[in-house]
């Protein structure tokens, strides 16, 4: 495991900033990057590494704006309050006329992840039918893996999602879904496969008594999104460039290491086809 010394990385970044007198004189507007705890939990050390790498590469300050839900961050993005956001494919497609994917994280060599349904360890579950009557934990109403996939899968199997579970609630965080199931607050939960696996490595005690009882097909990884009108702007392109060169700085590598990601890449045209298919199932039901 690579260990990064935060102080060394931050000092290096400071020295790099001082070596760029043009930047100091120009004082460009800070780049505002939106995040939600749905996907990325509040880890100040990770944000520090990201900030150092991005601001160094972009030559401008980077500010992080955090909101609780995808909906709030999406609204900020649509209103121009932020320049880019790390969203989910589902809210991206919900606003595809205004928003565009800028970059996709690469996880285990590919820009894909799956949705998972988890229960407590030891529970015998053959299929979704066995989850009928559960108290179920979703992450966010606008999360693909944390809501859309489970609802659409139930519809696909001819269940009525609103009557299938005895009760359901949103935790606004994939990590919280795992906690809710592990603590017994919910008997089952819809969780992001990437977050769940990352937790197994980073916080094994939190997911120790949970098990995956169902896993979906692969979807395009939650993308970095910008508005279509700003997509070709210098700050956004500079941001894209900084994202795709994360491996070139210590801070970037440290951030990737903490995120358990390989890097960022440009999306292709069909990255979110599977999510769109899931959305159609829900839309068809009305």
């Amino acid at each position: 495991m690579i260990r990064f010394e935060r102080r060394r990385v931050l000092c290096g970044a400071g020295a790099a900033l001082l070596a760029m007198p043009g930047i100091l004189h120009a004082q460009p507007a800070p780049f505002r990057f939106g995040l939600t705890p749905v996907f990325l939990d509040n880890d100040w050390q990770l944000l520090d590494f990201l900030r150092v790498h991005l601001s160094t590469k972009m030559g401008r300050e980077v500010e992080f704006l955090q909101r609780r839900t995808y909906k709030e961050v999406t609204a900020l993005l649509l209103m121009g309050e932020i320049d880019a956001a790390w969203l989910c494919g589902y809210p991206l497609l919900q606003n595809i006329d205004r928003l565009s994917a800028l970059a996709l994280p690469i996880w285990r060599g590919q820009p894909n992840y799956s949705a998972k349904i988890i229960t407590r360890t030891g529970r015998a579950v053959q299929g979704l039918e066995d989850l009928r009557g559960d108290i179920h934990a979703y992450s966010d109403p606008d999360s693909n893996s944390g809501h859309l996939v489970t609802v659409s899968e139930l519809l696909r199997q001819n269940y009525r999602p609103e009557a299938f579970f005895d009760r359901s609630f949103f935790t606004y965080g994939h990590r919280n879904v795992a906690r809710a199931v592990a603590r017994g607050l919910a008997q089952s939960g819809s969780v992001d496969g990437y977050v769940y696996d990352a937790m197994k490595r980073a916080e094994p005690e939190l997911v120790a008594n949970t098990q995956v009882v169902w896993e979906s097909e692969l979807f395009g990884f939650p993308p970095i999104v910008a508005t279509r009108e700003t997509l070709d702007s210098e700050p956004v392109q500079s941001f894209f460039s900084a994202l795709t060169t994360m491996r070139e700085s210590d801070a970037g590598q440290a951030a990737l290491h903490m995120l358990q990601l390989d890097g960022f890449a440009a999306p292709d045209a069909h990255s979110f086809d599977q999510i769109a298919a899931r959305m159609r199932i829900v839309a068809e039901r009305g």
């Binding site: 009760r167 609630f169 949103f170 935790t171 919280n176 603590r183 017994g184 607050l185």
Partner: protein
């Protein structure tokens, strides 16, 4: 003299126990206050935050909030928090396995202690406190928080241990000090007790040199004690004089009888002397007169000897014989005849058993009682003596046909109460003689209905014929 100091020491121990109890009670009160303050803070914190979550039915935020409460470490850690709606159903609980969402848990509210209660039960390691939460003036439901009170129990156990050790030590020291002080204070009294215990029958006054005049109270106590000793000695002397006088009083009573007994044959004897003077030459008359004189004089000698035996100053320590009983019969019979009384004489004790009784005391006892019996039986009455064995003792029962021994005379015979002036003079003498012979006195009735004064004397009083 140990009882007083021990009592003082015991009182100090009691004070120690009481003080320990008060300290523990104060500790419990402090713990209750501490818990109440802590609980009110927790409830207030939750109440200020949870309202909007509850309105939005945001299960996770409510759970997360309550979970944060229960994650607090340190003393009085909240173990579990459960929010229950007004219908008694669980809204959310930090122990969802025990209290799943939506389950009926009205019983939890019923068993929980309201946080505003006057007292909490801190005897077990956990206590559930409840409070109705309000949001915008509307009751949201009841929050029940279970607090870990094992720290309180441990604190009480530690305090109890310290108290037991500390108080035991302090009480022991105080008790020993109290014991010593009390001993010191009561030393004069202890000396009196020692004086009393040294010779139980002969109390001796405390010498004047030994009286601490610097301590007026003790000196007064000793003076009073000495005065008491003197008073007792004077009373004993008076009693002895009275007993002597009683003996002579009974002698005086007997004197009349004695004079009668001597006088009766005396006329006949003088006549016989005249006969002898008139017919000195007639051998048959002389012989007859001499025989008559011999019998008369022997009778008089017997009467006088019996009287002397009874009233000898130092009663001889010889065994009783049947002859002594015949002497008594001889002495009382004239008195009975003089009063026209019938005399019963029933001696059932064998000679060898009789010999185990002391002659002197028995003669005086029987004579005094018989004289009293004759006195109370009145003219034409009945008196008597019954002597028989009862186990290892002999029973001497003196009978009379009188109305029975009056109350004030019973005390003379049966108790050591001071003598009141009046009749029954010989009765206290009888009591002293009986006590001296290790016997006892009871009152009863004979089979014929006669009143009886029963004297029970041990047969081992004299060591046999020669004792």
């Amino acid at each position: 003299m140990v009882k007083g100091p021990l009592l003082a020491a015991g009182l100090l121990v009691l004070v120690g126990v009481l003080a320990s109890h008060l300290v523990l009670r104060a500790l419990v009160n402090t713990q209750e206050r501490h818990l109440r303050e802590m609980a009110l803070l927790e409830f207030a914190g939750v109440e200020a935050t949870i309202g909007p979550f509850l309105v939005r039915d945001d299960i996770w935020e409510m759970f997360d909030l309550l979970d944060c409460v229960t994650q607090r470490e340190g003393a009085l850690q909240p173990l579990q928090a459960t929010l229950i709606d007004p219908l008694g159903r669980v809204i959310v609980s930090t122990a969802p396995e025990v209290n799943p969402i939506g389950t009926q848990k009205a019983s939890m509210i019923a068993t929980a202690t309201p946080v505003a209660a006057e007292h909490y039960d801190l005897s077990v390691g956990e206590i559930a406190l409840s409070k109705v939460l309000q949001y915008q003036g509307r009751p949201l439901g009841q929050l029940v928080i279970a607090f870990d009170t094992t720290g309180f129990i441990a604190e009480r156990a530690r305090t109890t241990g310290f108290l037991i050790a500390g108080n035991a030590g302090a009480t022991l020291i105080a008790a020993l000090l109290g014991f010593w002080l009390m001993r010191r204070v009561l030393r004069p009294v202890a000396r009196l007790t020692d004086e009393k215990g040294r010779r139980s029958d002969a109390l001796t006054p405390i010498p004047d040199t030994a009286i601490p005049r610097r301590n007026p109270e003790v000196a007064k106590l000793y003076d009073t004690y000495n005065g008491l000793i003197r008073a007792v000695a004077e009373r004993d002397a008076t009693t002895r004089r009275l007993a002597d006088r009683e003996r002579f009083v009974s002698l005086g009573r007997l004197a009349g009888t004695l004079a009668h007994e001597v006088n009766n044959p005396l006329g006949g004897l003088l006549n016989t002397v005249d006969t002898l003077r008139t017919y000195p030459e007639r051998a048959d008359v002389v012989k007859s007169a001499a025989d008559l004189l011999d019998r008369g004089l022997r009778h008089m000698r017997d009467v006088v000897r019996a009287t002397l035996d009874v009233h000898r100053d130092a009663p001889e320590r010889r065994p009783l014989t049947l002859a002594d009983l015949e002497d008594l019969n001889l002495l009382i019979r004239p008195e009975a005849e003089r009063r026209g009384q019938k005399l019963h004489w029933d001696i059932k004790l064998a000679e060898d058993r009789v010999a185990h009784l002391p002659a002197g005391p028995v003669r005086q006892i029987v004579l005094n009682l018989l004289l009293n019996a004759s006195s109370v039986a009145g003219y034409g009455g009945e008196i008597g003596l019954r002597l028989e064995g009862e186990g290892n003792s002999a029973l001497l029962a003196v009978q009379d046909s009188g109305p029975g021994l009056p109350e004030h005379l019973q005390s003379r015979l049966l108790s050591d109460a001071p003598l009141e002036p009046g009749g029954g003079v010989g009765l206290r003498l009888v009591r002293e003689l009986v006590q001296g012979a290790d016997g006892r006195i009871t009152l009863g009735q004979s089979a014929q209905g006669l009143q009886e004064i029963q004297v029970h004397l041990p047969c081992s009083g004299v060591g046999g014929q020669d004792a």
